[in-house]
């Protein structure tokens, strides 16, 4: 198991946090959280959907949106094809509608396995549509982030997705549409500096990497400054007032359901 969060199909695997050997079955039942140290391993978008929303309630939309290599960027077309093949999707964001504890919600889920969860035109479009769908259908929006940042291979087009998604968040605010964002490991760069940081409620899973700049760059820039041990983690963001709660995976569903109910939900307006 080399890659963070990618689990083997064998009977045993090793926790990425404490390195203890775990039973695969037990690990899965525990939502890919280590029973010994509590380390939250990464989830695919499908796994996230399965453990979060009411069983069978998720209906995907816009699954056929695909990136174009507008810039003819070196190796982008090949990398895209490879990611599509491996993840069996066309992009890093999966979106649609679901219910959570019987409340209808418009949802988007980032998947780190697809090119590091990077945000290009398609990811930005799906997040914007998710928020607009919430506005149109008068239901709350829930977005799970997992992203290394903007997709370099789409150049300025990907930078503009920050503005596009932010514009949609502002429209949610103006239409009193509750928007909840859940930061999962990792949430960085352009995603953190746009829709992830300005939700009505921001939750995070424990020990997720939450960073604007790469840790190396940050520490270099902070010459002489003390760098705390938990720098750029969920706990660090919580302590600095940037997010609202750190929630363990097995409680996320109920906390989200509760919030959706409290903030208005389908008929609260």
């Amino acid at each position: 198991m080399n890659k963070k969060g990618s689990g083997p199909s064998d009977a045993f695997l090793q926790c990425l946090g404490c390195k203890k050997i775990l039973f695969s079955v037990e690990f899965k039942q525990n939502l890919r959280v280590c029973p010994h140290c509590g380390f939250h391993h990464r989830l695919s978008a499908s796994e996230r959907i399965e453990i979060t929303f009411d069983p069978g309630s998720f209906r995907e939309v816009d699954a056929d949106l695909r990136s174009i290599d507008t810039l003819e960027f070196p190796d982008y077309a090949a990398k895209l094809a490879q990611a599509e093949e491996r993840v069996d999707r066309f992009d890093s964001v999966v979106c649609g509608e679901a219910t959570i504890m019987e409340h209808p919600v418009s949802v988007a889920i980032g998947d780190f396995a697809f090119m590091g969860g990077s945000m290009g035109s398609v990811a930005g479009e799906k997040v914007a549509r998710t928020l607009e769908r919430a506005i149109d259908k008068r239901m709350p929006a829930i977005v799970f982030t997992a992203s290394g940042g903007a997709r370099m291979q789409e150049g300025l087009l990907s930078l503009m997705q920050m503005a596009k998604t932010t514009a949609a968040v502002q429209r949610c605010a103006e239409t009193r549409t509750p928007y909840i964002c859940v930061l999962t490991d990792p949430t960085t760069g352009g995603v953190l500096a746009s829709y992830a940081s300005i939700a009505d409620v921001i939750l995070a899973e424990p020990q997720a990497l939450i960073a604007f700049a790469g840790a190396r760059v940050s520490k270099q820039a902070g010459v002489g400054g003390r760098v705390p041990d938990d720098f750029q983690s969920s706990e660090f963001a919580l302590a600095h007032g940037m997010i609202d709660r750190v929630v363990v995976r097995k409680e996320l569903r109920s906390v989200l359901g509760l919030l959706v109910g409290l903030l208005g939900g389908a008929d609260g307006r």
């Binding site: 174009i68 479009e125 087009l157 990907s158 930078l159 514009a167 953190l192 992830a196 820039a221 600095h240």
Partner: protein
């Protein structure tokens, strides 16, 4: 081997320009017929210079554009503020934590009408650069911008932002105080306000640090500015693990004004004097001023709700997919 700085790349130009200055000095003190001889020499040099300028600047490649956009002789925001506006009153407070000198702002008059100015500010010498944090804004800078955007909205002043930053400040302190949130909130405010907004990218439009002030009704870009999701050196480091391949990455990223216009991501390229804005800052300023006045006139015809809708639709439409 590509040049690493604009001085290195401009070496022949700079030498010619220096030669002309020297010759002119000599001609001033010389008597006939030596004087006439020197004057025809000067003429010859000046022709060569203008040929060189045209040759080098009319075919500026992406990497050379990066060098020019970063040139420390290039006019910075405050140079344009003093050349284009009158009665500028700088307002420094973010009302939250502290002063950030890498973003300046305040009200001023343009053609006799009040506007709100916000812009990144770089420094020219070592002390100034440190004072301006190399044009890399901290959360306080964006929070000051938010405050000024709100004030502009309250008093119905159109907003003009000048973009010139390598990136937002990536340090531990900035991260601790929420640099990502500050950038996102600044963009969000630019979508919330109902006055017209114009952004001008005058040098480096460096990723999140730039878009944080550039979610505007109109986005203009000077001919030799750059606008990019990542610095070319950083891109090269990720792609090929070779930061020195910046020139190749600059080409791949399509970070020039003409490329951004072609992609439909900016509204207009503002021309620069031959040889770049640093050769004739006042002419460069006059060209920006003309564009600003024209766009402000057009935007003045929109109602507040039309201003908001136009801005939303403009950014909403950005993205290429199938």
């Amino acid at each position: 081997m590509a040049a690493k700085t604009w001085r290195e790349w401009e070496k022949p130009l700079i030498e010619l320009e220096e030669g002309i200055v020297k010759l002119k000095q000599m001609a001033k003190d010389a008597a006939s017929p030596k004087k006439e001889e020197l004057e025809s020499e000067i003429e010859r040099y000046e022709r060569a210079l203008s040929n060189y300028l045209e040759l080098m600047y009319n075919r500026l490649g992406p990497w050379e554009t990066v060098l020019v956009a970063r040139a420390d002789k290039r006019p910075y925001t405050l140079d344009y503020v003093s050349a284009i506006f009158t009665h500028f009153v700088e307002l420094e407070g973010d009302r939250r934590y502290g002063a950030d000198r890498s973003i300046i702002g305040g009200p001023a008059l343009l053609d006799g009408f009040p506007v709100m100015i916000v812009g990144h500010q770089k420094g020219r010498n070592i002390q100034e650069r440190q004072y301006r944090n190399f044009g890399m804004a901290k959360p306080e800078g964006y929070r000051k911008a938010i405050r000024l955007f709100e004030m502009a909205d309250r008093f119905r002043l159109p907003v003009i932002t000048f973009i010139d930053t390598p990136a937002a400040d990536p340090g531990v302190e900035s991260e601790s105080r929420g640099i990502a949130e500050a950038i996102a909130a600044s963009m969000q405010k630019m979508f919330e306000i109902t006055v017209p907004t114009i952004s001008v990218i005058i040098g480096e439009g460096g990723s999140g640090g730039a878009i944080g002030l550039a979610a505007a009704s109109r986005v203009l870009m000077q001919e030799h500015g750059i606008y990019s999701v990542i610095p070319p050196e950083g891109c090269a480091a990720i792609l090929w693990r070779l930061p020195e391949k910046g020139p190749e990455a600059a080409t791949a990223l399509k970070l020039t004004a003409s490329a951004a216009l072609e992609l439909g991501l900016i509204d207009e390229v503002v021309p620069e004097p031959l040889g770049g804005a640093h050769r004739d800052p006042l002419d460069a300023a006059a060209k920006i001023r003309e564009a600003l006045s024209r766009h402000l006139d057009e935007l003045a015809a929109l109602t507040p709700s039309e201003v908001k809708a136009q801005r939303y639709e403009k950014f909403r439409a950005m993205g290429e997919m199938r």
